[in-house]
């Protein structure tokens, strides 16, 4: 058994460093903010125009004029700032945001990512994903290791239309933690109860097991 969504989020939260500005995508990435370790101070950016995004509001504080990029009602922390979309993406493009965490349908061994379109199905749009992956200094992908059919999502090359090229630095899946290097995927940690053999069997792209590979600790 691999990790559940909360556990993936919890492991990604360990990647947060004190003082980071972080953009969290919709889904598992959003959960990461619940597990930021004590003593680590980060600030969340939401691309619709917030720096210093806080938790969901109490019912009485809900404000239709204050939402995040997932269109959810949120709050602003003390010292937080609002700005417009053009400035928000300027901030992202100029590399001021230290870390982006987002989901993916596929990642290739050279760090390409596909997460916006399945040909033949309804296409909803890329939102801010292409801008974020093209410019973030560090990108961590949070995803299931395989698709619902059991096929690997860590591939030699993506089969779906790309969102960005050569940009993913790290993947935290339900099976483990992987760096994306010039030499392909490198397994750094395996989830409790998951074997290296299972990881090898479910990784279609080039995979190396780190010499000091270890069981994930929360």
């Amino acid at each position: 058994m691999g990790l559940n969504k909360e556990q993936i989020a919890k492991r990604i939260a360990q990647e947060m460093k004190d003082g980071m500005y972080v953009n969290l995508g919709i889904g598992i990435p959003t959960l990461v903010s619940n597990y930021v370790p004590e003593g680590i101070e980060i600030m969340l950016q939401s691309e619709n125009g917030i720096l210093g995004m806080g938790p969901y509001p109490e019912e009485k504080d809900i404000d239709a004029d204050l939402i995040n990029a997932g269109k959810e009602t949120v709050t602003l922390l003390k010292g937080g700032v609002y700005f417009d979309s053009a400035e928000s993406f300027g901030m992202i493009r100029a590399g001021k945001v230290d870390l982006t965490v987002l989901g993916a349908m596929e990642v290739s061994e050279n760090g390409d990512i596909a997460n916006w379109k399945i040909p033949g199905k309804m296409v909803k749009g890329m939102g801010g994903a292409m801008d974020l992956v093209a410019s973030a200094k560090n990108i961590i992908v949070a995803m299931q290791h395989t698709n619902p059919k059991g096929e690997s999502k860590l591939l030699p090359s993506c089969t779906l239309p790309l969102t960005g090229v050569g940009c993913v630095k790290k993947i935290v899946s339900d099976l483990g933690v992987f760096d994306v290097t010039a030499d392909g995927f490198v397994c750094l940690e395996y989830a409790p109860g998951v074997t290296i053999d299972e990881i090898k069997a479910k990784t279609a792209g080039k995979l190396r097991i780190a010499d000091d590979v270890k069981e994930m600790v929360f």
Binding site: E47, N48, G49, I50, P55, Y56, P57, E58, E59, I62, D63, A64, D65, L66, I67, N68, A69, G70, K71, E72, T73, V74, L76, Y82, F83, D84, S85, A86, S88, F89, G90, I92, R93, D112, M122, V123, K124, G125, M126, G127, G128, A129, M130, D131, L132, A134, S135, P161, L162, T163, G164, V165, G166
Partner: protein
């Protein structure tokens, strides 16, 4: 007076928008959308509109209202997934859609307002968005050329405005509206609160009146929330 931009209401503000016009419509999802002007566009019944807007509303609200009445020919957006009528029209070939990365869209609008015809951005390099676009390398990184956007009309909703057209947007309602207000030949602003010159703090104004041609106090704001999330 010459610099007084006040018009009676939404119907007067949009009265010369013809069928086939290109409109920028402010808002992000349903946050900060020009509800009064959208209702007036539905009443006026003009057709074949090209709408530049980050999203396309939801069924029965926001731009979803203009989709329902088949007044939109083309959408230029970054994310359009919240609308069954949209999906139906798209799959039936009744609606054209130009999907644009969100930051590229925001910047194309901002550059339009700054009088800059084109710029380079890395978003979409190596993807199908790059097809047919000029690619340049700067400092070892590849960039696409994207064009600034200027349209016939911008329609935005601001929290406050004065009779000279100065605008203030609260919280996350700045979104696309702040840049759109500067990027059209004619900008129409509907505001929750309309005040006299001097009543807005000049340090707090987001859009200067020079960009705004018509302003009116809107009414009956519904301010629908797309995802009502509360602390557990």
């Amino acid at each position: 007076m010459g610099l007084n931009k006040v018009v009676a209401g939404a119907d007067e503000a949009i009265k010369d928008i013809p069928s086939g016009a290109t409109l920028m419509l402010g808002g992000f999802g349903l946050c900060g959308i020009p509800e009064n002007c959208i209702a007036a566009l539905v009443r006026k019944g003009i057709k074949d509109l090209t709408c530049i807007s980050n999203n396309a509303g939801v069924d029965g609200f926001g731009l979803g209202l203009l989709l329902q009445t088949r007044q939109i020919k083309k959408m230029m957006s970054s994310y359009v997934g919240e609308n069954a009528e949209f999906e139906r029209q798209l799959l039936n070939g009744e609606l054209e859609v130009d999907l644009i990365p969100q930051g590229t869209l925001a910047t194309r609008i901002a550059m339009g307002g700054w009088g800059i015809p084109a710029f380079f951005t890395p978003a979409g390099y190596g993807t199908e968005i790059a097809e047919g676009k000029e690619i340049r390398e700067f400092n070892g990184k590849k960039y696409l050329m994207e064009m600034g956007l200027v349209s016939d009309f911008s329609i935005v909703k601001a929290s406050k405005g004065d009779t000279l057209g100065n605008l203030v947007f609260e919280k996350t309602t700045k979104n696309f509206s702040q840049a759109m207000a500067k990027a059209s030949k004619i900008t129409i602003a509907e505001v929750e609160e309309l005040v006299e010159p001097g009543e807005l703090d000049p340090e707090q104004i987001h859009v200067a009146g020079i960009y705004v041609h018509r302003i009116f106090k809107g009414s009956n704001y519904e301010k629908r929330i797309e995802r009502r999330t509360v602390k557990k």
